[in-house]
Amino acid sequence: MSASRRIAITGTGAVCGAGVGVDAIWDAVVNGRSAIKEISSWDASRWPTRLGAEVTGVDNRALVEDRKLHKLVTRTDLFGLYAAGAAIQRSGITGHRETLTAEALSRFNDRSGVFVGSGGGNYRSNYEFFPLLTAANGDFEKFGRELGENVNPMWLLRILPNNVVCHVGIRHNFKGTNGCIINQCVGGAMAVAEAAAAVRAGEADRAVAVGHDTPLEPETVLHYGHLNLMSPDGLRPFDRERRGTVFGEGAAAVLLETMADAQARQAVILGEFLGSGCATEATGILDVRPDGDGLRRAIEIALGEAGVSPDGIGVIVAHANGTPASDASEAQALRRLFGNHLPPVTGFKWAFGHLIAGSGALDLIMALCALRQGIVPGIPTLDSLDPEFGPFPASRAAQRPRSDTALVLCRGFGGMNVALVVRANAACAGESATSSRTGGLK
């Protein structure tokens, strides 16, 4: 029956401050190189933090070749389109599609889904109304009258939160079930979970799942700073001196399909998606429960769906955003669930910042890399583990995964918690050209 369909991960793609492409980003992470540095897109010397992990020195055309499209979407969409395109390319389905008859192709397209976790609106888009506001000078009638002369007529279409869904569909002819999740930090993680659920339930035979966001802008950094969520001096997850998070930007995407299809077309199977869980703590916009109750429930649901016991988890990729409350409650939840049998715990935001809606999907891809390479990268900014956590296996030094299965955690505003369980495909573990790299493992 369809509910038991297994889900293969056959493509990944990502861009963030740490690099363009999954291999480049993994190389930075495993070698302890952080992309967090002084923000360059505006003079942030007087901002609550001067730090960010920007995508710099990357030509938009290197991300998306089609220049016409650059005018129709915003920067975050370009990141999302790049990542989705890379994941689809990597999966090899494009070549496979060329072998299909017209009828089979039509069905193939109708059975290909698109799920995106989008950052939604940003402040920058609204600045396109500033010349009009200046021209109107407080006269609202004039504002309306001179609208057409001052604002790009395509303004709304450029800012649609679902632009990546739309343009991935058009560019890759994916025409099946779809969704665009605007759930702040957990959007990307939920996009992966929903894509997998759709394939598992037989609503689609394959789906690309994308998370993308660009939170690095002056107003957002300022507001987060006022709420004491930004670190002025770096992202140090689980450290006793941690002071907050640091933003990154970018996107990550995975191509999921039925294991049967992937095997039939002899695709390179990177891993298997096993399960997901989602729960809210109902704590309002900003608060989290100190005991991590929602996170614990999300993990329990995910493990149940995956059919994996806590002992079966080989590595935990924590949300590890570096804020005092989130890290502490995350450690609490993990301690309660795993007791003294916690597998190695790590987090990656020290390397490429917090991508907000993009973070969960990127962490999932990095988890897959870690399992496939047999390395749990250390956290170079972790100087002194918070003693409040008790024994807690997060460390500066790299570790080895306890099994081929990872638990990936993602948390966000609204008391949201999402957990994903993924297994690396051991059968193909040696296929990557970079598989022998052991840099960073001491």
């Binding site: 600045y127 609202f140 309306g144 007529p153 659920a197 008391g415």
Partner: protein, 432 residues
């Protein structure tokens, strides 16, 4: 294998331009009363379009005695909170400490979180000459408002609803423009079938009736400019139609496991029987003239419900009152319904209440449930000269009393996302 779970609609809450609760909205729609009038919530005198479908005389404080919560709620969040309160009351069930982890939330959330007053404040401090200079944000008098920041988050509606009502299970907020509300209800159906929850509050909310929202659609030339005849401005399927009318509001449904609802003696409006969901992948705003995209969504929804097109009695069309949408949607309906098309009654309730964007699909799902309950298809108002290219059986003149066993609702969005939902009369659901 265990039989697939069935899902009952047991509660409805509406805040719309034609009524601030479900009963008033439904009565207005049946009477064909228009909620469209000159825009009053800002000075729209200079705009090409000066009419809209506003929610009127809405007082959140009288519905939700929680002033602290309301401080964090924008206008559209308040619609959502009020509609949810009505839906829970109507269903006679709500999250309790013993059940709140089995309650989920699936929302079609509005697109624009940042309020115009914030944009104007940033302009005043940072962009007097029209160009943004971030230094102004650091000015001592800049009114940086953390509460406004909280209101503007993409999932602040989700956060407020889960907190106020104590929903602690699965929670999602989706946005695919005009398909959002339909996709949110469809997602709720899937989440219930997956067994992740036993109850879901599902719906949508939106308000783009502000200077930026109205500007956005005016710039695209998508809105009717019939400023002198607002009540006639939205006329889906009429050959003289010239754009849609922007509305605002919220629609919320309480969905629950069918057997559990029966067991507790709940009044069931209808079964939420099928969901179809497709991507047109054609152009960002244009729909394919053949109806490709919506065709697959409707076919999927019917197949998902275990139905054939001949079973459909009533279709609540997306029916925006734009030439392109109406023609493409009718082509899709003809393709799906085949020879049965003349026996399907079709109407667009946007003719009365305008286009509620992210809320539209959820409100129209409620309309389908009410149509099944009362055996009456609401009128598609203002249809005087039918467009020959929209040759379907439209409910025109007045609402049509008829036996509705199956209803279908379409929501088709900018960006090409298409949602179809199928509803079945509760008497036709055999006990499982």
């Amino acid at each position: 294998m265990t039989p697939r779970r069935r899902v009952a609609i047991t509660g409805i809450g509406l805040v719309t331009p034609v009524g601030n609760d479900a009963a008033t909205t439904w009565a207005s729609l049946l009477a064909g009363s228009s909620g469209i009038a000159p825009i009053t919530c800002f000075d729209a005198r200079g705009f090409p379009t000066r009419i809209g479908a506003e929610v009127k005389h809405f007082d959140a404080d009288s519905i939700l005695a929680d002033r602290k919560l309301l401080k964090f709620a924008s206008r559209s969040h308040r619609f959502a909170l009020a509609a949810a309160e009505e839906a829970f009351r109507d269903a006679g069930i709500r999250p309790e400490p013993s059940t709140n982890r089995r309650w989920g939330l699936s929302l079609g959330a509005g697109m624009m979180g940042i309020e115009f007053s914030e944009v104007a404040a940033v302009h005043a401090f940072c962009a007097r000459d029209g160009q943004f200079d971030p230094e102004g944000l650091l000015h001592g008098e800049f009114p940086a408002d953390p509460v406004a920041f909280c209101r503007s988050q993409t999932n602040s509606g989700l956060a407020l609803l889960t907190r106020h009502f104590g929903i602690q299970g699965y929670a999602t907020a989706v946005h695919t423009a005009c398909a959002s509300g339909g996709q949110a209800v469809g997602t709720a159906l899937k989440v219930l079938r997956r067994g992740l929850t036993d109850f879901v509050l599902a719906g949508g909310y939106d308000s783009m009736l502000n200077p930026l929202g109205v500007s956005a659609f005016c710039l695209l030339g998508a809105l009717s400019t019939d400023n002198d005849t607002p009540e006639r401005a939205s006329r889906p399927f009429d050959v003289t139609r010239n754009g849609f009318v922007l509305g605002e509001g919220a629609g919320m449904l309480v969905l629950e496991d069918w057997n559990a609802a029966r067991k507790r003696g709940a009044r069931i409006y209808a079964e939420l029987a099928g969901d179809g969901n497709s991507l047109s992948s054609y152009r960002i705003t244009d729909s394919h003239p053949s109806g490709d995209g919506p065709i697959q969504a409707m076919q999927q929804a019917l197949a998902d419900a275990g139905l054939v097109p001949d079973g459909v009695d009533y279709v609540n069309a997306h029916g925006t009152s734009t030439v392109m949408n109406d023609r493409s949607e009718c082509a899709a309906l003809r393709a799906v319904m085949g020879g049965h098309i003349d026996r399907v009654s079709v109407s667009s309730t946007k003719s009365c209440m305008g286009h509620l964007i992210a809320a539209a699909g959820a409100v129209e799902a409620a309309v389908c449930a009410l149509a099944i309950r009362d055996g009456i298809a609401p009128v598609s108002a203002n249809l005087v000269q039918p467009d020959p290219e929209c040759d379907v059986n439209i409910v025109c003149g007045e609402s049509r009393g008829m036996n509705i066993r199956v209803a279908l609702s379409n929501s088709l969005g900018f960006g090409g996302s298409n949602s179809s939902l199928v509803f079945r009369h509760p008497e036709d659901v055999s006990a499982t």
